[in-house]
């Protein structure tokens, strides 16, 4: 069995590029490809929503059939069921659905960046079946990541059927992913943000419209069938005194440390289990299930499955802080075991679970020592969810919006932002590589790290800018006067300020030649060709590359007053800046591939 999380079969032949003209020939001018893609996004949302509804029913049905409506401790079923189901799942993964191991987020990213939008339909089907069995039998994994991949798989299959352009086909998978995730979380805004933040990595009007449409339509479908109630019963949440932000900051610190522990345990165990003889992979999910069942048997059945019911109870003060802390630790252990064993399933719900329990524990403990704190346990639980989301999944914007969308309460936005920021910063400093990037690199793929892209410092024109030359010629002056001004200068090129605006350039040789040709009584303006392009200091340095080969100097002017010269850039100054940047980055490059 392959261990690659992005182990697709060879990419399918991509749709012929000339198809759009054939496709829309019947209604030319009515259905251009952009409009068609938007309409298609709605259908992707509908199909993904329907699939996710079925997926959730499948999980519930499996859970009821195998474990009963409410698992009780000290029942033999608790370890027998996940162990036996683990054997079945392993057999299915090895023999029927070899491409479904690992993270659906990464597989969608791989489809976008490597496989031209191709996700095998078999992967979506396999994910549906195997994740339903695994999660329903109590493996400590969540349904969101498989839902995301089911949506992406459906979208990809549909795109291939329709022979749309390669560019659009690539985007089909993220559009489907947003629909799947939105349906799973019942939270369209968070899903859109997550896909933009973690899969696509850029904001553009074209893709945003499609992602939003698919997410919204899938949520409509899910709410139609399963109701619009949120994942949890949201308790009364309050934030009264700004000084209490310190308490939330402490929660952020704990969350950051827990995120690092969680990520490092996966980073450590996953390659080691993958390197074991291949026959052991038949038993790894079963062993993980057995151990998780044992944890449940010994008194913590809450760690089984996605754990939304337990989060709900934690939110309403059902556990004391010691139990909450214990559940957080046990869930990290259980989820690590499930995930590294190759059992299909996601880490979104476990991340929320760990964050909820940790938030509740830290909040209760803080209120024990500082009874004047007004935040309820439910408030800390909610903030804790966002904290782990920010620290472990490293999606800071999604983490904030997800808490707001799930809770429907904007009063806690400040605590959420403060705690998430602490968690994110600590996680970034202690675990350089985000979890999704780490998983792809362990699988031998190099996908663009969107966090690194976000954090990358952009070189700007001002970084390569040279001081403005001391001699600036005036276009209204005569050639002979200008020639006299430059005769003592050592420079070979001179900028010319045009009237009423604009810039030009003339070399010493050109100036002397004009003088020799008897054009000394002409103004510079009358003899110079088209004006020179100018740059602004804040433009990306890449924009200077277009001009520096054609002109020896390019003026950098003030945005408010284009006659005011801030400096100049030359080919040498630009290339020198790029060269120095490469030297600065070289020592950090090793860190980025450390797993």
């Amino acid at each position: 069995m392959s261990n690659s999380s992005t182990n697709h079969p060879a990419p399918a032949p991509v749709a012929p590029l000339q198809v759009p003209s054939r496709l829309f020939s019947t209604l030319e001018g009515v259905f251009n490809e952009e409009l068609f893609f938007l309409i298609l996004s709605v259908f992707i949302g509908i199909f993904s929503g329907l699939a996710v509804v079925c997926f959730r029913l499948a999980i519930d049905w499996t859970h009821l059939a195998l474990l009963g409506p409410l698992p009780q401790t000290h029942s033999w079923r608790l370890f027998a069921v996940p162990a036996l189901a683990g054997l079945v799942v392993a057999a299915l993964v090895i023999h029927v659905f070899p491409g479904i191991r690992g993270s659906g987020v990464n597989q969608t990213k791989a489809a976008l960046y490597i496989f031209n939008g191709f996700i095998p339909f078999r992967t979506a089907v396999g994910k549906f079946i195997c994740a339903a069995i695994a999660i329903g039998s109590g493996q400590s994994l969540g349904p969101e990541d498989p839902s995301l991949q089911i949506g992406a798989g459906i979208a990809s299959a549909l795109g291939r059927q329709l022979d749309i352009s390669r560019e659009k086909l690539r985007l089909m998978a993220p559009v489907g992913a947003a629909a799947g995730l939105a349906a799973a979380f019942n939270a369209p805004i968070s899903a859109v943000l997550f896909v933009i933040e973690e899969v696509i990595g850029r904001w553009s009007a074209g893709i945003l419209g499609s992602v939003v449409l698919s997410a919204v339509s899938s949520v409509v479908i899910v709410r139609w069938f399963l109701g619009s109630q949120p994942l949890f019963r949201i308790p009364v949440t309050t934030f009264k005194r700004p000084t209490e932000l310190i308490a939330y900051a402490v929660l952020g610190i704990f969350g950051g440390l827990a995120s690092v522990a969680f990520a490092k345990s996966i980073a450590y165990l996953r390659p080691r289990l993958n390197s074991l003889p291949s026959w052991t992979q038949y038993f790894q999910p079963a062993l993980a299930g057995l151990l998780i069942g044992l944890i449940a048997f010994l008194g913590a059945p809450q760690v089984m499955g996605a754990g939304y019911d337990s989060m709900d109870q934690a939110m309403h003060g059902q556990y004391v802080w010691k139990m909450l802390a214990l559940l957080a630790v046990l869930k990290i252990l259980a989820t690590t075991l499930s995930f590294v064993s190759g059992t299909p399933g996601g880490m979104f719900a476990p991340t929320l679970f760990i964050g909820a329990m940790l938030g509740g524990a830290v909040g209760d403990l803080e209120r024990h020592f500082f009874p004047h704190l007004t935040g309820s346990t439910g408030t800390y639980v909610l903030v804790g969810m966002g904290v782990l989301f920010a620290g472990f999944l490293r999606a800071p914007m999604t983490s904030v919006f997800m808490v707001l969308e799930v809770s429907g309460n904007y009063e806690i936005v400040v605590p959420v932002i403060v705690a998430n920021t602490f968690s994110y910063v600590i996680s970034r400093s202690l675990q350089t590589v985000p979890i999704f990037d780490m998983l792809t690199r362990q699988d031998g793929l190099i996908l663009p790290s969107l966090e690194e892209d976000r954090e990358e410092t952009i070189l700007r024109v001002e970084d390569a800018m040279l001081p403005a030359p001391t001699i600036i010629l005036n276009a209204e002056d005569y050639v002979d006067a200008n020639a006299r001004r430059v005769q003592d200068s050592t420079d070979s090129n001179f900028l010319v300020r045009m009237h009423p605006s604009g810039w030009n350039i003339i070399s010493r040789d050109q100036l002397q030649r004009l003088f020799r040709e008897g054009k000394g009584e002409h103004t510079l303006a009358s003899v110079l060709p088209q004006p020179l392009p100018s740059l602004y200091p804040d433009l990306p340095l890449d924009s200077a590359l277009r001009y520096v080969n054609d002109y020896p100097l390019v003026p950098v002017v003030n945005r408010a007053n284009s006659r005011k010269l801030e400096g100049v850039v030359s080919r040498d100054s630009v290339f020198k800046k790029y060269g120095s940047r490469r030297t600065e980055e070289a020592p950090n490059a090793a860190d980025r591939v450390d797993p």
Binding site: L23, P69, R122, Q161, L162, G227
Partner: protein
């Protein structure tokens, strides 16, 4: 092995959209069918679990009931009845940590149906558990004026009675009295309802209203021995000893085993026979009663002094309050001889003031009196209340 589908979809955009629409409609219908079957299955399972939960709750096994209701809710998460029952079981489990969860379930229900009287009543009980006077009162009122699915009048009355009991427990007698007045005006014409109201009036120390309720019971059921005893008791505590004597006599006759009524009857009899301020008695009889009371007061004082190891001969007012009483009694004794004088109209009051002071102070020092002393003490309290 790889899966691939032949490209079946034609290339015309309208046709594609039509096919997609048909596919979506088909999928929608199929999933509808699936969800309906699954939901029906779940609801059936939920009903079984809910019934188990109700049985456990009625047997006061709240932990088991909570588990059953939770399981029922996993099968049918939006079922209001299950949520309400879980909220009630959580509240009744006597685990303070579960009150929050109970409240959150009930609040969620309340937000959906704020007029639902059963939900309001459950929330009122949670607030009552917490001792939150304002919240409990608000929710009880909501329950009283809310919508009941069955027997609204009886349920409203029950809710009001529960509120009154809560208010009395919290010491909010004024609010309780207001609620009791409202309750009395809406009571059904049944002896049981009036008996219950009488009990509540008794708890609120409104003995006149209590007596009125018992009289209403006796009007409906003249032979009701509980009402006869209650009426006598209420009249006794209200200081209406003539009525008390009549009703207690009737109660004792109706139920010869009623020792409490007999004892109260004896005390009432003593009061009526020894109260010098009773109307319709002659001057001679009044003077006799005053003299007897004065003599009895001295006896009580001496007994109390002995009990308290106070020697009245040597004690001074500075060292003992009983000595002060002794000195008052001694000062008043010569006045007995002037009781018949037509000019000394204030003397009966002055002498009886001394008697009443002795009975009250000795009761405080040596404990509750019995017999004639008790009768005199009660007479003193009645007179004090009347003067206020």
């Amino acid at each position: 092995m790889s899966w691939s589908f032949p490209k079946l979809i034609p290339r015309s955009a309208p046709v594609i959209l039509l096919i997609l629409t048909l596919a979506a409609a088909t999928g929608f219908a199929a999933v509808s069918h699936l969800v309906a079957r699954f939901t029906a299955n779940q609801q059936s399972r939920g009903r079984k679990l809910y019934a188990e939960g109700l049985a456990e709750a009625s047997a006061n096994r709240f932990d088991d009931a909570i588990n059953a209701f939770r399981a029922a809710l996993t099968c049918d998460p939006t079922n209001s009845q299950y949520q309400l029952s879980l909220g009630r079981a959580l509240r009744d489990s006597n685990d303070p940590r579960r009150l929050d969860e109970a409240e959150s379930y009930l609040i969620a229900l309340w937000q959906r149906a704020p007029q639902d009287a059963a939900v309001n009543l459950a929330l009122a009980r949670v607030a009552a558990h917490r001792g939150s006077l304002e919240d409990a009162t608000r929710y009880y009122h909501n329950a009283m004026y809310g919508v009941w699915n069955s027997d609204p009048e009886a349920n409203r009355s029950k809710a009001r009675i529960e509120l009154i009991q809560f208010l009395l427990k919290q010491g909010a007698s004024d609010r309780a009295a207001s609620e009791l007045m409202a309750l009395a005006s809406t009571l059904p014409p049944t002896p049981a309802a009036h008996l219950q109201a009488a009990g509540l009036f008794a708890q609120a120390h409104d003995y006149a209203a209590e007596l009125a309720q018992y009289e209403e019971v006796l009007r409906l059921d003249p032979a009701n021995s509980a009402a006869l005893a209650g009426a006598g008791n209420a009249a006794y505590r209200a200081g209406d000893y003539i009525t008390a004597h009549r009703d207690l006599q009737a109660a004792a006759n109706a139920n010869p085993q009623d020792a409490d009524s007999r004892q109260l009857l004896a005390t009432t009899d003593l009061i009526l026979r020894h109260d010098p301020f009773q109307s319709h008695i002659s001057d001679a009889e009044r003077n006799r009663r005053i003299t007897a009371a004065f003599t009895q007061a001295e006896k009580r004082l001496v007994e109390c002094a002995q009990k308290s190891s106070v020697d009245l001969k040597t004690a001074t007012p500075a060292t003992s309050s009983l000595a002060t009483l002794q000195s008052l009694w001694t000062e008043a004794k010569p006045d007995l001889a002037h009781l018949r004088s037509p000019t000394e109209t204030d003397l009966p009051d002055a002498i009886m003031d001394v008697v009443f002071q002795i009975e009250q102070r000795t009761a405080a020092t040596c404990g509750a009196p019995q017999g004639l002393d008790l009768a005199l003490l009660l007479s003193s309290q009645k007179r004090e209340a009347a003067s206020q």
